[in-house]
Symmetry: none
Subunit: 240 residues, 2 copies
Amino acid sequence: MRAGLKRDRVRDFLLDFVADKKPGEAIPSERDLCKELGVSRPTLRAAIDDLVRSGVLVREHGRGTFTGPQRVTQALAATPTGSFYAPPAEGHWLSRILEFGSAPAGPQLANRLQLAPAAPVLRVVRLRVVDDEPMAIERLHLPQALVDGLVPDDMESGSFYRVLRERFGVDVRSAVQTIEATVTDDTEAVLLGVPEHFPALMVERTTRDVNGRIVEFTRSIYRGDRYRVTSELHFDAASG
Amino acid sequence: MRAGLKRDRVRDFLLDFVADKKPGEAIPSERDLCKELGVSRPTLRAAIDDLVRSGVLVREHGRGTFTGPQRVTQALAATPTGSFYAPPAEGHWLSRILEFGSAPAGPQLANRLQLAPAAPVLRVVRLRVVDDEPMAIERLHLPQALVDGLVPDDMESGSFYRVLRERFGVDVRSAVQTIEATVTDDTEAVLLGVPEHFPALMVERTTRDVNGRIVEFTRSIYRGDRYRVTSELHFDAASG
DNA sequence: CGGATAGAGTGGTCTTAACCAGTTGGCCCG
DNA sequence: CGGGCCAACTGGTTAAGACCACTCTATCCG
């Protein structure tokens, strides 16, 4: 028996179930799913709640439950309770490494990573793929000194941050991220399998560890039709 | 005819109950509250879930449930997660109101705002302008009941959230925001003064007040060349 | 033929009732 | 007196079922 909460297993089942469905397609009724999965309706509904909250499913009272607009949602911020939800397709993510090598930082990167211009920087370009469909191009830059011994395999799947923590003792703590609208250029379009000048998100992220050291500068291009960024904002007494 | 949901009444009771408590104080156990309020535990827990999500309460397995950390001040160090929204430049913000009127919510908006489909909703479309240059188109939707008496002038300049707080007693607390890449359609392009199919950000924001009630659903289009979203992420030890 | 209506199917809410899993503190034994 | 164990809390999860509200459609009646 696989470990874990029943409701998580149900949620994972639904994720698989929905994976090869088109946006807006209906899923079986709650009562039918209960019978098929052998769980109670509250449990089933709890699983669906998760997926509705993260945008995978959409409910319509009296009509049914349908697959959402087919986008992967990335949670930007955790709620105070830490109960926000992982990207729905986690586990199906794969990466195709397009480039992997070390070179001197150069002036711009040196500035971004707060290194000497001559310091070696590991540059990794990877195509992120979900269910055989290209989703994003990530260009990562890390100080070579922090990740000596990192090999491409480490970045093919799973959580890169976990590798950083467990293998290199780099404990990621915070990140500053900027998001801009853009359109794909020719090479990006080919890699992502979309037309040129297609809507896309450009995300730049600078990540720091617990000691405040910059451990990563990443510039990514996400397909606009398949990606969406979610964040939760909290206001204090005097914000405008 | 305020929504007679039991869960909402329980939530409101808890809000009153917690109002004059110090941060970190314990509330009665779930089972005691059930007896006192005459509701079942799932219902009680659903109400507490809302308050935990909005930061009013904090649960601790095996110990109890406590009032949340922040009251009115503090914030930066206290909140585990902070996000902010950064307009690209200073300058003089103005709004040109393009549309201002009330109509029944309809099915979709009713769902977004968690109202009855027949409930009146104030719809406001405004063009946001900085230094005479169009920046964004905002389409706001608010429950008419919350903002009866609001006039277009209130939204021409200054902080709309301040108006909500000072004139209508609506205290904005949190928002969930999703950001997608898109391109302008013909009318948007004209309003924003850019070519058609120009890169743009579509931002949907659902805003809640301190009571967890939805006060606003807004869909906005921002010029991609003039706008950028910045957010700061904080990871804690347990995140995978 | 067209519109009203009843029924079936959907998600939405709530109840009762277990049992599981951490936390705490007091009791008993060494 | 000190330490370990256990009972009694706490919140966390799941179950099974009742009833409500909404949507659609097929049927019936004008």
